[in-house]
């Protein structure tokens, strides 16, 4: 019995949670429970991010998605949650159709994902140091937020290291997209506020 690789174990755990709750979102008809399962699913996804070594993205996922977006969503649910809308049923035929097509899509995606040999996972190492490596592979030991922050400022430090010489050309920073996105966000918020305001009945 070879020792269990805990990185993989936690991946399986979080992956299973993510998938199960995602499916739960689909099959539940009560919209509030849908929101709840969605939260759990996205939280587990954040866990997967941490496992993939992207702790900043994971924290962002928790903060913006789970903290912000979903609160908005639940807010909307509560604003519109009246008897008939809490749970809306869908016809059996549509379910079957969607299930068949979705199943086909799923099969194709998974098949495609596993068809690339380089993605099958890191080269299997002997298990003892393999465990060390994956213990070390836990995100906390690798600073990721600083390169990301610099990347947003237009400097790509992660492309400086000689290990990835072939990536060095095109030190593409993300300053402009960053600005665009921030302005876009501002516009969006104003627009949302405008859209969502209740119309005043003005006569004449």
């Amino acid at each position: 019995m070879e020792p269990i690789n805990w990185h993989s174990f936690f991946f399986l755990l979080f992956g299973a949670l993510t998938a199960v709750f995602a499916v739960a979102v689909v099959v539940t008809s009560n919209v509030v429970r849908m929101a709840f399962y969605l939260i759990l699913s996205l939280g587990a996804t954040a866990g997967l991010f941490f496992l993939a070594g992207a702790d900043f993205v994971g924290a962002m996922q928790l903060m913006i998605y789970v903290g912000g977006t979903l609160v908005l969503l639940i807010f909307g649910v509560m604003l519109t949650a009246q008897g008939p809308f809490i749970s809306m049923k869908t016809g059996g035929g549509e379910w079957v159709l969607a299930t068949i097509i979705g199943g086909a899509l799923l099969g194709l995606l998974v098949k495609t994902a596993f068809s690339v040999e380089d993605w099958q996972g890191p080269a299997a190492v002997a298990h003892v140091e393999g465990e060390e490596e994956h213990a070390a592979a836990l995100p906390a030991q690798s600073p990721t937020s600083a390169p990301i922050g610099l990347g947003l400022l237009g400097v790509r430090t992660d492309k400086l290291d000689p290990a990835k010489a072939e990536l060095a050309p095109g030190m593409a920073g993300y300053l402009l997209p960053f600005e665009i996105v921030s302005v876009h966000l501002l516009v969006v918020l104003v627009g949302a506020a405008y859209l969502a305001r209740t119309k005043k009945r003005r006569e004449a």
Partner: protein, 114 residues
């Protein structure tokens, strides 16, 4: 079984991402509640995000030189932010729709039907 003893790879993350994506698509296709459709969209975006992060990760592939590096994380960040924006607008639209039609059933939103 050897999933427990072998290190997982990008493909495994992508499999989970695929589940998320398909779940989201089916959710969009089957829910009549506009907010349900919104949640489906969130699921789809997360599936895509998972792929970006996995591709950007250093630990998940044989040849780490090929990984997207910080690009993966950055794109994932943009996706998250834009998803937030999208959620805000979509929510506003939904509320507006609810004010005018007093329902959130997307099947009733077919005023422009040909």
């Amino acid at each position: 079984m050897d999933l427990l003893t072998q290190p997982v790879g990008v493909a495994h993350f992508m499999a989970v991402g695929a589940v998320l994506f398909v779940a989201g698509a089916v959710c969009m296709a089957t829910k009549r509640n506009a907010l349900g459709v919104l949640m489906g969209i969130e699921l789809v975006l997360n599936g895509a995000n998972l792929n970006f992060v996995a591709l950007g990760s250093e630990y998940l592939r044989r040849d780490t030189a090929l990984s997207l590096g910080a690009d993966g994380n950055l794109i994932a960040l943009f996706v998250i932010v834009l998803a937030a924006a999208e959620a805000a607008v979509a929510l506003a639209i939904t509320l507006n729709f609810y004010n005018n039609h007093s329902t959130v059933d997307v099947d009733r939103a077919d005023d422009l039907r040909g």
